[in-house]
């Protein structure tokens, strides 16, 4: 597999006769699914794209995996990803970068790059990713497929290896909105193993049934702040898509989200703080390569050495920054301030969504980077998340749907639609309209 889409390409048959729960006539029978490698699969390695977990084989299935099996799906492999979800290019994976099937030589986006690439390359019908600050929507946009970041609490996180646990959700990829929505139907719903899940079943028959393309009378708010930093070509493609929706009966107006100028900073402080704690368990006692360095029986030294050897640079950078942001004397200045900003962002979205059914923006302000282009400049990479991270801060649902290709370089551009909490059906309905031309 030259594109390096999978870290482990072991098949897990959902309709296997050994699996009592499986249903050969289930809604996903005969369909193949790629699963991001930070979602626990019983008996199949779950590496999180990290050398630290190269040997780790979970003894249990994530709730979404149990639901896939019950639905009769066939899992075709564990997809490549930025290490522990930390990146927007899938280049921080310890198992090498993944090529973008829709734009060879370019990154597939990240952190769920392998999942999006699997769907784009036809290696799987569907895929699961996770989105902490855009990690589903970014690769969906870069690979020209559909990705949904559900409302926080719609999908169980049980079995998702945590990065920023107050921000992230597991979500589906598909070639079409309806495909992605059908996978969402299978994975959504409350779980007694995840206390943050909520019972919020779709109003209609299913999420997939909402993919009608009916946008007649839909009001779209366009936050001006989310266009400001975007490349001109991207903005042009975005307006073409809005015009398309307008032609089908939607209306749009500009709205303002003044708080989003602080969103990237707030997001990184919160995500890194949580990561510093979530990744603390990888200390060499149960996970991680044995250290060659002599630590003379000092467990503190051993922990440090294992973490130094086992984590990549981006992960270490985020753990260090997150530790710093939570430290005595800095906690109020960084972590607490970021929480205040988060509350403000939520409020801004609530207000904007009281004047519009959905909010629209380019998913990414740029087209896919060339391989290796952004690795040296983490700040540039962080800023590329400007349009996606505010949605995670606000706990809201969003979808990225192909908007077309940039005129300048022919690379894929994604349109992001954001809805109110548990308003996934509205997003699915609106996004599917772009597929009916």
């Amino acid at each position: 597999m030259a594109a390096n889409i999978f870290i482990t390409d072991e098949r897990i048959e959902g309709d296997d006769t050994e699996n009592e729960d499986a249903d050969a006539d289930g809604p996903l029978a005969g369909r193949t699914v790629a699963v991001k490698d930070n979602i626990s699969t019983k008996g199949v390695a779950t590496t999180c794209g990290s050398a630290m977990l190269e040997e780790y084989v979970p003894p249990y299935d994530a709730t979404v995996i149990s639901r896939l099996k019950e639905a009769g799906a066939t899992i075709v492999g564990k997809a490549n990803m930025d290490e522990f979800g930390m990146g927007s290019t899938t280049e921080t994976s310890a198992f090498g970068p993944t090529d973008n099937p829709a734009a060879p030589g370019h990154v597939p986006g990240g952190s769920s790059g392998g999942s999006a690439a699997a769907v784009a390359a036809g290696e799987a019908d569907l895929a699961l990713g996770s989105d902490t600050g855009g990690s589903i929507r970014c690769p969906a946009a870069f690979c020209g497929v559909v990705g949904i970041k559900p409302t926080y609490g719609l999908v169980s996180r049980y079995g998702l290896v945590a990065y920023g646990n107050s921000l992230e959700q597991i979500g589906p990829f598909g070639e079409t909105v309806e495909d992605a929505a059908a996978l969402l139907d299978v994975i959504a719903g409350p779980d007694e193993r995840d206390a943050t899940t909520r019972d919020a079943a779709p109003d209609g028959e299913s999420y997939a049934a909402a993919a009608t393309g009916d946008v007649d009378g839909l009001t779209i708010g366009v936050p001006t702040e989310l266009l400001e930093g975007a490349d001109e070509d991207v903005v042009d493609t975005f307006w073409d898509a809005i015009a398309d929706l307008e032609a089908q009966g939607a209306e749009y107006h500009e709205v303002s989200l003044p708080s989003v100028e602080h969103a990237v900073e707030a997001y990184y402080v919160i995500a890194m703080s949580e990561a510093s704690s979530n990744l603390a368990r990888f200390d060499g006692v149960r996970y991680g390569p044995e250290t060659e360095t002599e630590t003379e029986g000092n467990w503190n030294e051993t922990f440090s050495q294992v973490r130094k050897d086992g984590f990549g640079d981006e992960v270490k950078r985020r753990i260090l920054l997150g530790t710093y942001a939570l430290s005595a004397g800095y906690h109020d200045k960084y972590y607490k301030k970021a929480q205040d900003a988060r509350a403000w962002v939520k409020q801004d979205f609530d207000e904007a969504l009281s004047e519009a059914d959905v909010l629209a923006s380019p998913t990414m302000p740029v087209t896919p980077f060339e391989q290796g282009e952004s690795l040296d400049d983490p700040l540039q990479m962080y800023l590329a998340d400007a349009n996606t991270v505010p949605v995670n801060l606000a706990d809201l649902p969003a979808i990225s749907v192909p908007a077309g290709e940039s005129d300048a370089d022919g690379l894929p551009v994604g349109l992001q639609l954001v809805g109110p909490a548990f308003g996934e059906e509205r997003l699915i309905r609106a996004a599917s309209a772009l597929e009916f031309e």
Partner: protein
């Protein structure tokens, strides 16, 4: 602290406690694993309590219920809602390298507990009590035996996730004896609430802060009120690894003497953490780096805040030891000492009340407080050890109350044999022939003794009154010792004088 030369009498001891109590729940605080203690390492574990990547905590509401009961018992403020935080630190027994605990919104704040020290009532302020998860346990093998000197260390996660309540007191104690009295009272209250099992290994773990303050640095006349400045100025030691109220008294008495001696000799007391070595009876400096620990507390987003405001009204608690003690004194006219003994555990008190309902409360008190608890104590047993045999004890009291056996035989023979040989009271009475002999039988024996011993009868009739003692002995022999010697004496005289 600058070294000061002061007289021992001028020094005041100030102690505050952090008590970790294991709550008795069927399952762990954040998963469904059993809390049973088992010899098989890593048996009661699952992805959650092992801290496996991706596993999430789900709060066991039974632990919250136990915490609310404690809150009510210590008259604490219970907030509208309670939430959890992460306390971040690295230690090999901590599966996630953070502990889920409570920080600025503990389930109980500002409570108190009344204790009695040498007959005097004192109120100890409990600043807070919060829920948290217990870490796993470590077993150091070979080498020096400590974590840094062992050949290797084994980790057992059976304990990981056991619900803990951390009870933090104000620095209200002025002597190790007060600490012991407090811990005994706390244990009693917890057992009454049914949230604690004192028998369980490691169910009570105590860290104590002790400082010595010169009396003249205390502004208030009342030595129980110590200014924060005086406290802050004094160096304190934190004594860890205390696991019982007896151990606490010993450890703190040692530490108190050690610090006072240092001050008297003009040496500074170092601010440090010390480890109580129970077997050697001393505290030892842990020699670990003493930098201020930064636990980087922040909200545990995996556990949504839990509304508990209405729980306080819905959850009821039983009568507490102090109230029961007073009631026993009123209702059964018991002495304070007897009432204290009889309320020492809920089981003892419940058993006493059962017996007192059926028989004379005084007799019941003697039997439960003195005889039963005395014999159990002598054998290092607790009432819990004979839980299934309390009916037999009741039967024994009945035998005494209905005059079927003598109190002396009941206490010295029957009860001891019950405890030592496992026999029932009726078995002991039958097998040892302890049943009080009927009057006819005694009369028969008297007649026989007179017939069989004409010499003694002649001696008696010739005025040798001592001969009667020989005859009494004969009668006692015939009745197997179950007759009353005084009665026998009178019966003999009556028969002979006829």
């Amino acid at each position: 602290m600058t070294a000061q030369t002061v007289q021992q009498g001028d020094l005041v001891t100030v102690i505050g406690l952090e008590v970790h109590v294991q709550l008795e729940t069927d399952t762990k605080i954040f998963c469904g694993c059993s809390t049973d203690q088992t010899d098989e390492p890593n048996e009661n574990v699952c992805p959650v309590c092992l801290g496996l990547p991706g596993a999430l905590p789900v709060l066991n509401e039974g632990a919250v219920e136990a915490a609310v009961k404690i809150g009510k018992a210590i008259d604490a403020d219970i907030p509208e809602e309670t939430r959890f935080h992460r306390k971040n630190y690295y230690y090999p027994d901590l599966p996630k390298n953070f502990q889920i605990t409570q920080y600025d919104e503990p389930i109980c704040a500002d409570g108190d507990l009344e204790i009695s020290v040498e007959g005097e009532r004192r109120t100890v302020t409990i600043e807070r009590a919060h829920l948290e998860e217990d870490p796993g346990s470590l077993q150091h093998v070979g080498g020096g035996g400590g974590i840094d000197s062992a050949d290797y260390t084994l980790v057992n996660y059976n304990r990981a996730g056991t619900p803990l309540m951390e009870v933090v007191t104000a620095p209200d104690f002025r002597s190790p004896g007060e600490v012991r009295a407090f811990l005994a009272e706390l244990e009693e209250v917890l057992e009454y609430l049914g949230v604690f099992d004192a028998e369980r290994d490691g169910s009570l773990r105590i860290d104590a802060n002790l400082s010595i303050i010169p009396e003249d640095e205390i502004e208030s006349d009342d030595v129980t009120e110590i200014g924060e400045e005086a406290l802050a100025a004094a160096n304190r030691t934190e004594v860890k690894n205390i696991s019982s109220h007896k151990g606490a008294e010993k450890a703190l008495a040692y530490e108190e003497t050690r610090q006072k001696n240092a001050i008297q000799r003009g040496r500074a007391v170092e601010q440090e953490t010390r480890h109580w070595d129970e077997s050697r009876g001393i505290t030892v400096s842990m020699r670990s780096k003493e930098e201020e620990k930064d636990y980087r507390y922040f909200e545990e987003a995996d556990l949504p805040p839990l509304r508990v405001s209405h729980w306080k009204d819905e959850i009821s608690i039983p009568e507490l030891p102090s109230a029961r003690r007073e009631r026993f004194q009123d209702e059964y006219t018991l002495s304070e000492e007897a009432a204290s003994k009889l309320t020492s555990t809920k089981q003892v008190a419940d058993f006493y009340e059962d017996v007192a309902q059926e028989f004379d409360p005084d007799l019941a008190a003697t039997w439960v407080a003195d005889n039963l608890l005395g014999e159990l104590n002598y054998r290092d047993m607790e009432i819990t050890g004979i839980e299934s045999r309390l009916d037999e004890v009741t039967r024994l009291v009945e035998l005494v109350a209905t005059d079927e056996i003598t109190a002396k035989n009941a206490r010295e023979t029957v009860l001891r044999s019950m405890l030592d040989d496992g026999r029932t009271p009726d078995e002991v009475v039958a097998e040892e022939g302890l049943g009080k002999t009927g009057e006819d039988e005694v009369q028969q024996a008297v007649v026989e003794a007179i017939d069989e011993n004409p010499d003694a009868v002649a001696d008696y009739e010739s005025g040798d009154d001592g001969a009667i003692n020989f005859l009494v002995g004969q009668v006692m022999q015939k009745t197997g010792g179950s007759a009353d010697p005084g009665d026998v004496n009178q019966l003999l005289r009556a028969e002979l004088n006829d």
